[in-house]
Amino acid sequence: MLIQAQQLEKTVDTSEGPLQILQPINVSINAGDTVAIVGASGSGKSTLLSLLAGLDLASSGEVLIENEKLSELDEEQRAKVRADKVGFIFQSFLLVPSLSALENVMLPAELAGHKGAEKEARELLAKVGLEDRWHHYPNQLSGGEQQRVAIARAFVGQPKILFADEPTGNLDAKTGGKVEELLFDLNKDYGTTLVVVTHDQRLAERCQRVLQMEAGQLSEAAQDVA
């Protein structure tokens, strides 16, 4: 079992008292799975993603990545886990504006201290079709190109898990389709476990499992379709 959530809850304090965003959630994701989390806005999809990825801590319950309890790790140790095992793709791309496409892709590998980051990054950029744009800065790239850079960055260092938060949400249908294609192709090549939060029905349908989020509760929405 690569990722496990046990009795995972998240409550936040608001001016009108505590608000429970996640009801107790139990879910297990196997290595190599592709999982879509779907649901309405505000249903708690992104919160779940942030807990699974160790970006935030649960109010109670536990997340385990390769049997390591995230709640027992401090922020630095969780960062290490992310550096070693996790890649990310975001709706708003989140490239570093002061780094070129190539440097953005190299970044996770360099932070983790990997040698040969540049070679790997160039290969990945070539795979996403941006071999001639590697020296461009994010503001010189279109939305679709930026997301392709983000995908390349997510796969550098060959993470075991890839979390994607609405990866096509900011793109038009055509570009979104291309990006989606790329994501799944690379995922296949690298055998990564993919957890994707999305509104996009077509994207969700390409995943092996679809989890439905509704008012903080998670349910299995579809069986294996692949």
Partner: protein, 834 residues
């Protein structure tokens, strides 16, 4: 690996101009501190050197007895130049006429500082003298030609010797300024002193050795000499100890420069702080991404620390180079303009400037950096997340402590720094409160206005907390700017008023009573502006409230006479009478007599303080053997900086009018009419003239130098202020940008947006300007009272000008910064935000 990432980020941040303001702020503070401290060091040294002309030397060793030759030799060995100047009173005779003169016997090299000027005819145009009178010759003052009916080439007798008069002395740098005590000068060679036979044991002679040289040589000699001096017979003087007519002005100028530079440094530091905060805020997302991708805190800390260090090092280096070049250019310019060379400065300014740059860069960036490192990775999903405010006090301690440290380092006066700092802290708190108050008031007003205004006011209100901080820095910048500008004007005005263009340039003394009317008629006929004619009766103050005063002429005399008794003035005074209070005099206690015929006297304030005289005290005077006692009925403040006759003691007319008196006046005669002087005063042979032009010019020149220096300081402070304003406006852009996108998307026309932004900044600027004016008046009042000894005035014009200036400058800056944002189309903006 981290340093590679750091370099890459830095390279692009620099290219995109993200660090420009911060770099500029550091560069500016280093440039300002370096150029100002070198400049003021050099100017100070130059001014001291120039002022030394009033002594004709850097130091003067003065004694009533002859000075051991060994002391001169020692000075020579220590690389000091020396020259003798022996001064005494004697009668001079020429062709049956005689008069009292000051004989000045000087040796080769005199004057060591400044120039001696001579003319070929009495009251003629002076030129610089090369050397001294030859053996057997004397150069004498113009007045002596009148008194002794001399012509060039005549002989005068002094003691046993006879001297041929070959030149007229028109200017001696060390002539001093005492209208009543100086007799006309006769300049002879020191080597001929002995022949005159006038130097006898017990004769009243002042032996002076003038010395000049490098300041460290002087210090070394001073160390050697001081233990050998006898306090009672010797005096060792530098220009700072002297009553130079400039010392007060110089003092003020120095304080002004120091204060202005301090404020400049504080402004630059503020700019660093604002820019650093903004820089870090802009990098919140980057740090969140880094952390999401697995970066540790340590990696992030190192990456951004390296930025800071590199930026600081580069900026300090650039600042040093710029500062050096700037002061070099300005000094060259000043030197050229004023025909002076200024000595080099030491190494201290470089250390000071470097330290200022590093301290302000590091200390003001620490807190923002601390927050930056603590940004949670979750920000990638929740953009509103920032670092906690838990250690806000750390920021206050760091920035407060840094500003205080800078103040102390720079002024080296902890009391001044503490006062400024405490005042600043109180002002900041008040300003924050006031700012919020004004914003909420203007919000109410804005609700009744058109849509651009409403939008602007809503914006102001929404960002009230951020705005009041922003307003604090606007206000501070505007206030410091106003402060420096106003202070500069007040200082210059103050100096100008001492030396108006029509200031009298001659004193006429010894005017006989029966010639007073003739002279007044002559002034009127010839259209020569003059002051009133004041009668002078010489007399001594002998008792205060029946207590006998020490007749202390010299300390030696005191030792010989009695050791006890109340301190007196110790010399004959020039007494006068008048019905009205003289111009430039101000009553500080008691009442002026008007028509009251009862004998009474009005005493000048400084003398009253020195002798502890109060209104109602009884003073006894001795006028040529006749004694009388009068009550003090008023105390007066006289302006000693004006070139008009001033008196310690003024009596009412009935008290003195029966005593024989001579008269004194001062008048102005333009350069072009100087040659008429001889003819004009021919009918008044007893009258002596004292030419003040040389002294006035000297004062003007020095004031000119100082004024230039002040303009230079002003420019630097203005740049620093502008930098703060720009940094602050830029810092607020981020926030505005989001709103702009929303409003734009909702279809708000560009005009509405740009107007509302302009109005918002207009109001912010106006309020800041108003607060700044208020704060400026208060600080100015304290400064003028406590630091500059000036009379504080309220600057009504600024109450209008301050807010208008603030509104216009801030609005223009704000509008310019927003310009690009408004010009962009909505899609571009959204993308930029995403």
């Amino acid at each position: 690996m981290w340093h590679k990432i750091s370099f890459r980020l830095l390279k692009q941040e620099l290219r995109r101009g993200e660090l420009t303001i911060m770099a500029l702020a550091i560069i500016l503070s280093v440039t300002a501190v370096l150029s100002l401290s070198i400049f003021s060091d050099r100017l100070q040294a130059g001014l001291t050197e120039r002022s030394s002309e009033f002594l004709a030397a850097d130091r003067v060793l003065s004694s009533r007895r002859d000075i051991p030759q060994e002391w001169l030799e020692q000075a020579g060995q220590m690389n000091l130049k020396t020259a003798w100047k022996v001064v005494f009173n004697s009668m001079a005779f020429a062709d049956g006429n005689m008069t009292l003169v000051d004989v000045k016997a000087v040796s080769e090299g005199y004057p060591l500082r400044g120039e001696l000027e001579i003319a070929d005819q009495p009251f003629g145009q002076g030129y610089v003298a090369r050397g001294l009178p030859a053996e057997g010759e004397a150069w004498v003052a113009s007045q002596l030609f009148q008194a002794l009916q001399l012509e060039i080439g005549d002989d005068i007798e002094v003691g046993n010797s006879s001297f041929k008069v070959t030149k007229v002395v028109t200017y001696e740098p060390d002539v001093g300024f005492s209208v009543f005590t100086d007799s006309p000068n006769v300049l002879i060679r020191h080597s001929q002193l002995e022949e005159t036979g006038l130097i006898q044991p017990g004769s009243r002679v002042r032996f002076n050795v003038l010395m000049a040289g490098e300041s460290n040589a002087i210090d070394a000699y001073e160390d050697w000499l001081l233990p050998r001096l006898n306090d009672d017979t010797h005096s060792w003087r530098s220009i700072e100890d002297g009553d130079s007519p400039l010392s007060r002005s110089l003092n003020r100028a120095e304080r002004f420069m120091m204060l202005a530079s301090l404020l400049g440094v504080v402004l630059a530091a503020t700019a660093v702080a604002v820019a650093a905060q903004r820089y870090c805020q802009r990098n919140y997302d980057v740090v969140a991404i880094f952390k999401t991708l697995g970066a540790s805190r340590q990696q992030i800390r190192r990456i951004f620390m390296l930025h800071l260090l590199l930026l600081t090092a580069a900026s300090v280096a650039i600042g040093m180079a710029l500062g050096w070049a700037l002061q070099y250019l300005v000094i060259e310019w000043v030197a050229q303009k004023l025909d002076a060379t200024l000595p080099q400065a030491g190494w201290q300014p470089y250390v000071l400037a470097g330290a200022t740059g590093v301290i302000s860069a590091v200390m003001f960036t620490l807190y923002p950096l601390f927050r930056l490192v603590s940004i949670p990775p979750l920000r990638v999903l929740h953009r509103q997340l920032t670092a906690g405010n838990a250690v806000r006090w750390l920021q206050w301690i760091l920035s407060g402590g840094t500003i205080y440290a800078l103040l102390v380092i720079y002024s080296q006066q902890w009391w001044l720094s503490t006062a400024l700092f405490a005042g600043g802290a109180v002002a900041a708190v008040l300003l924050l409160g006031l700012g919020r108050l004004f914003i909420s008031a203007s919000r109410k007003a804005g609700m009744q206005a058109g849509s651009s205004w409403r939008l602007a006011m809503a914006g102001l209100q929404r960002r009230a907390a951020a705005n009041s901080v922003q307003m604090l820095s606007f206000s501070t910048a505007i206030m410091l700017l106003l402060l420096v500008i106003v202070l500069r004007n007040d200082l210059l005005e103050d100096w100008k008023s001492q030396l108006p263009a029509d200031a009298p340039n001659y004193f006429a003394i010894n005017i006989a009573e029966d010639k007073v009317d003739d002279m007044q008629t002559m002034f009127e006929r010839e259209n020569i502006p003059s002051t009133d004619l004041y009668p002078i009766v010489p007399g001594r103050l002998t008792h205060i409230n029946g207590e006998k005063l020490l007749d202390e002429v010299t300390k030696e005399d005191r030792d010989d006479n009695e050791a006890e008794g109340r301190e007196g003035i110790g010399r004959e005074l020039s007494l006068t009478w008048r019905d009205t209070l003289p111009p430039n005099n101000e009553l500080t206690a008691g009442e002026w007599w008007g028509d009251d015929a009862e004998p009474q006297v009005s005493v000048e304030l400084n003398v009253s303080e020195r002798l502890d005289i109060k209104v109602g005290d009884e003073l006894r005077f001795n006028l040529g053997g006749e004694e009388f006692t009068v009550p003090v009925t008023s105390l007066r403040k006289a302006d000693w900086n004006t070139l008009q006759p001033n008196f310690y003691m003024i009596f009412n007319t009935s008290t003195l009018e029966d005593f024989p008196a001579t008269y004194i006046t001062s008048f102005r005669l333009g350069e072009d009419r100087k040659d008429e002087l001889y003819q004009l005063f021919k009918p008044f042979p007893q009258t002596s003239l004292i030419d003040l032009d040389a002294m006035i010019n000297q004062i003007r020149e020095v004031i000119g130098q100082v004024s230039l220096a002040i303009v230079f300081v002003l420019v630097l402070v203005i740049i620093a202020g502008a930098l703060v304003l720009v940094a602050q406006v830029q810092a607020s852009m981020e926030e505005r940008q989001k709103e702009l996108v929303i409003l734009r998307t909702l279809g708000a026309p560009g005009k509405l947006l740009s107007r509302s932004i302009t109005y918002e900044f207009l109001v912010l600027g106006a309020i800041s300007g108003l607060i700044a004016t208020l704060a400026m008046e208060v600080s100015l009042f304290i400064l003028q009272n406590q630091v500059f000894n000036m009379t504080p005035v309220i600057h009504w014009k600024l109450w209008l000008l301050g807010p208008v200036f603030g509104a216009v400058v801030v609005a223009v800056l704000g509008r310019l910064s927003c310009h690009r944002l408004i010009q962009r189309n909505t899609a571009q903006l959204i993308r930029k935000l995403a």
